[in-house]
């Protein structure tokens, strides 16, 4: 399948973007349409420790407990539509027939019953695990020990054949280099790992996912750069954390968006995955629906853009919560209540034609809370998107442009605007700009330079990327 690179923006201006509307809405599942006038809550969950003991206990946990609780609560509170997300645990990718199939099929059967009885719009995203190990080999035939690349693809098939409506993965290509670079605050290495190697790896796996989806008449959703940009974000943390500076995290987010985009360029339709905080950037470019998470995913992440990140979402997620009891019901029910009510608020704003105003309130609340929030504000996200499409056909140059644009936006606002930075954050920003400026103008030279510079990075093997 050919990869169709984005070289122009699907939106004419930032202001055209708003939550609950995408240029290219997507229908799937049991009466679900995303991006066509409503925001849908997306509830994600993790089984209790020990539930993975055997296939039957895992199925019971996911189906009889978690899925049932979710559906009951959705009806109880009157939510018109809900999406479930199941992030697979490694037992499911290791033995798809034993562990994955009964779960996927069981969830769908129960959802079908509720849909038939109540008419509620329902769908489920299956995010399969990417267990591939860079040191063993990311491509088919390379990992002789576990056959992880093969297993990964098989588990996508099993999901698609047994009830998944939407397929996602958090692919980890390039992470071995990004992990090395992040601890050294080496933006070039990070760009090489995620922007370059990661994009190459996605161009290998995503056409396969899109094919599987087509064959099974389901949807290929999208990817996220959890392995890279979210790791930066969590390490940068909040105002008490000092593991890495937040300016570095912000720039990695912009670079990550050039990678996340690849899934859509390979034919995936969206909605992309919630944990991709780069969603506003890729939506601005491609006009496909995006899943986002923020103030109501505190069960999983405490980010510095809890409201802002809702600005242009189409699905609103809790990211993930472990199943356990709370006073108000089970944990999945409690967080579904939170995201479902937030979606209801957005939908009411749409009905009353106040959606752009609510979008701006969300955005303004966190615009200056962190540099990462700042570059993801929809106006700035749009600018980063523009930088990417300008070099749309070159995965290296567009990643670099994304990073540079973000860095410059932050620098400028820090100088003359309201975005305050600590001294260390400023130092890092200057170093990033210097480092990025020093990079070659041409992909071949960049590749050559990096293959040399990072040849000793533990676990890095150019063969994984056919280099």
């Amino acid at each position: 399948m050919a990869i169709k690179r984005y070289t122009r923006m699907e939106y004419g201006s930032p202001d055209e973007m708003v939550f609950g509307e995408a240029r290219y809405p997507v229908s799937y599942g049991l009466g679900q349409t995303v991006g066509a006038g409503v925001v849908v809550p997306e509830i994600n969950f993790a089984p209790r420790p020990g539930a993975e003991k055997n296939p039957e206990s895992l199925r019971r946990e996911y189906v009889d407990y978690i899925t049932k609780d979710i559906l009951d609560r959705a009806i109880t509170l009157g939510f018109p539509a809900v999406q479930l997300e199941n992030e697979h645990i490694f037992q499911m990718v290791n033995e798809p027939q034993r562990y994955e199939k009964p779960v996927v099929a069981g969830q769908k059967e129960m959802m079908q019953n509720y849909h038939d009885e109540y008419g509620i719009a329902l769908s489920i995203r299956h995010t399969v695990a990417d267990p591939r190990l860079a040191e063993e080999g990311l491509r088919v035939g390379m990992d002789k020990k576990h056959s992880y690349p093969e297993k990964c693809v098989e588990s996508i098939e099993v999901a698609a054949e047994n009830g998944a409506d939407l397929l996602s993965i958090e692919s980890t290509g390039g992470k071995e280099v990004a992990d090395y670079a992040i601890l050294r605050q080496d933006i070039r290495g990070w760009l090489f790992g995620i922007g370059y190697l990661g994009s190459i790896d996605m161009a290998w796996i995503w056409p396969q996912i899109v094919d599987i989806a087509k064959k099974n008449k389901v949807r290929a959703g999208g990817d996220t750069n959890c392995a890279g940009a979210n790791t930066s974000m969590f390490m940068a943390g909040g105002y008490l954390d000092r593991d890495i500076p937040r300016t570095f995290a912000a720039v990695t987010r912009a670079i990550a968006s050039a990678k996340t985009l690849v899934a859509w360029e390979c034919g995936a339709t969206g909605p992309d995955k919630d944990c991709g905080y780069e969603g506003p950037i890729v939506k601005a470019i491609a006009g496909k629906p995006t899943a986002q998470e923020g103030k109501n995913c505190q069960c999983a992440h405490a980010d510095l853009m809890g409201n802002l990140i809702a600005q242009v979402c189409d699905l609103w997620s809790n990211e993930s919560v472990e199943y356990h009891p709370e006073f108000g019901g089970s944990s999945v029910q409690c967080w579904l209540g939170s995201i479902g009510y937030e979606a209801a608020l957005m939908n009411m704003a749409k009905q009353l034609k106040q959606d752009r105003l609510l979008r701006d309130l969300y955005m303004a609340t966190d615009r200056y809370r962190s540099p990462e929030a700042f570059i993801l504000a929809y106006d700035n996200a749009y600018k980063v998107g523009q930088a990417i499409v300008e070099y749309g056909n070159d995965i290296y140059l567009r990643s670099k442009a994304a990073g540079m644009t973000a860095a410059r936006l932050i620098e400028e606002e820090n100088k003359s605007g309201k975005l305050r930075l600590s001294k260390h954050e400023q130092d890092m920003l200057r170093k990033i700009i210097t480092d990025l400026s020093a990079l070659p103008e041409e992909e071949g030279r960049f590749q050559e330079m990096c293959l040399k510079a990072y040849k000793d990075v533990p676990l890095f093997n150019p063969k994984n990327y056919e280099l």
């Binding site: 009157g78 006073f327 009905q351």
Partner: protein, 261 residues
């Protein structure tokens, strides 16, 4: 205030309750379940439709044709069966059950009056709410349902100390003990009670309920049997009277409570 006229509320919320309103009416369902005999039928209907005013007269008429035991069994208790079914199907609400139980109670008293000895109780149940816990509504509901199913209830109320529970069990020798706890900081009384009962060689089902506890917690100490809803009380009690011990109640829990959720 914003003008809400243009709003399509369907995109914001869906009233599944209205959408699902049961087509079958109480009358239709009762019609299928009540006995054919006109005297007993009236008694059943009095209970089902909560006709407190008619019950005295109708039980009187029934008693002219049937023994008090028969009126209780095939009239009054049958009526509560129908009520339970209606509640289970979401046609009746809880207050219906409570008021019907009172009507039935009135009828039972009349029958007992005509019986040789006292009416036989199905068994004795001691009930309490844990020490420091003021939440007793659930326990009260459960008590009414157990009574209306023929059990003698010793209701110790709420905020009951462990020692009082033990003493009462020793004195009353019930077939079942129940405990309710809505607070995670009071539920720890239950394992202690279980421990003390064991020390005294007492081995009866200890049905524990209330928002704070769950099945896993209750099954972590000897004798504990979980109940999620008041309506499960009679089912668990009935099996106890059939000879199930607490272990067997636990083993069959899913089945025993399945219909009653």
């Amino acid at each position: 205030m914003l003008d809400l006229k243009s709003v399509n509320f369907d995109r914001v919320l869906r009233r599944y309750d209205i959408q699902m309103e049961t087509k079958e009416s109480p009358e239709e369902l009762a019609a299928r379940m009540v006995p054919k005999d006109p005297y007993l039928r009236k008694v059943v209907e009095d209970v089902v439709f909560m006709r407190s005013k008619n019950i005295t007269e109708d039980v009187g008429s029934a008693l002219k044709n049937y023994s008090p035991e028969e009126v209780i069994e095939h009239g009054l208790i049958k009526g509560m069966d129908v009520v339970g079914e209606l509640y289970g199907r979401g046609i009746y609400y809880l207050p219906h059950v409570m008021v019907a139980a009172e009507v039935m109670d009135k009828g039972v008293k009349l029958c007992e009056f005509q019986m040789k000895g006292a009416r036989e109780t199905r068994g004795k149940v001691v009930m309490h709410v844990a020490e420091g816990d003021p939440h007793d509504i659930g326990k009260n509901i459960a008590a009414v349902l157990l009574k209306s199913n023929g059990y003698t209830v010793v209701d110790m109320g709420r905020d009951v100390s462990i020692q009082d529970v033990i003493t009462t069990v020793e004195n009353e020798k019930p077939a079942i003990l129940t405990g309710t706890a809505l607070m995670t900081t009071t539920m720890s009384a239950f394992p202690k009670i279980s421990e003390r009962l064991r020390e005294r060689g007492i081995n009866i089902p200890f049905i524990c309920a209330g928002g704070a506890v769950n099945r896993a917690y209750v099954e972590s100490y000897p004798m504990g049997v979980f109940a999620a809803k008041a309506i499960q009380g009679p089912a668990l009690a009935n099996k106890t009277m059939e000879g199930y011990d607490w272990r067997r109640l636990r083993e069959n829990w899913d089945k025993l409570t399945a219909a009653k959720e």
